[in-house]
Amino acid sequence: MSKYREIKTEFREEALLRQALQASGVPFEEHAAPAHLVGYRGDERPETAQFIIRRHNLGSMSNDLGFARQEGGTYAAIVSDYDQYNRQAQDRLARVKQEYARAFVHREARRRGLRVTEQRDARTGAVHLTLRG
C-alpha cells in the first residue's frame, strides 16, 4: 500500500443514478420534465426533481425525496428540513449513494479489464471491493 484517497461521492452521472435507484430497491419515478415534490400533508412543494422517491416509501411523516438535475448535468438530492433528521429517509438516501458508488466502481473496473471481488460488512454496512488485473 502506498497511496490512499477518499472521495465524497456526488451524483454526477444520470445513468449511474438511475442504476443506483433501481439497485436500492425502493420504488421511484423518473420524469423527463422536473415534477413537483409533495409534502407529508399531500401539499405540492415548490421544489422539483427528475427522479422522485414518494413519501409513502420513506415514512408516515416524510416528504418526497428528489434528485434534481443541476447545471452541468450533476444531480442534487432534495431533502426536506424534516427529513434531514428522519432516519428512514437518510438511510434511503445513503443506500442510493452507496449503490451509485458501487455502480461507478464496477463500471470503471470493467473498462480497465479488472476483476472484482466484493464483500459486504454486515456490521458496518460498508462494501469492500478488491480490483485486480
Binding site: 500500500m1 502506498s2 484517497r5 472521495i7 465524497k8 461521492t9 478488491t130
Partner: protein, 68 residues
C-alpha cells in the same frame, strides 16, 4: 494495473469511497487512483508510510552503490 498490485476500495454506509493501492511501490502508483476522482470530491489524498519506506530503501541502496 498489471502484475500483483491491486486496488482496495471501501464504500461506507454513507456511500463515500476510500481507495488504496497495494503492492505497487513508489512513484509508479501516484496516478493509479485518479480514475476514482470522477466519483465525486476528493477529500483525502495522501501517500502512506509504506511509500516513503520504499523510497528511502531505494535511496540508501543507491547511496551505498555510489560509494563503491
Amino acid at each position: 494495473m498489471a502484475g500483483k498490485g491491486s486496488f482496495e476500495i471501501t464504500i461506507d454506509a454513507e456511500g463515500n469511497i476510500a481507495g488504496e493501492i497495494k503492492d505497487v511501490s513508489g512513484p509508479n502508483c501516484e496516478r493509479l487512483l485518479d480514475w476514482l476522482n470522477a466519483a465525486g470530491q476528493v477529500i483525502v489524498d495522501r501517500r502512506t508510510p509504506d511509500y516513503y519506506r520504499r523510497e528511502q530503501t531505494v535511496d540508501r541502496r543507491q547511496q551505498a552503490g555510489g560509494r563503491r
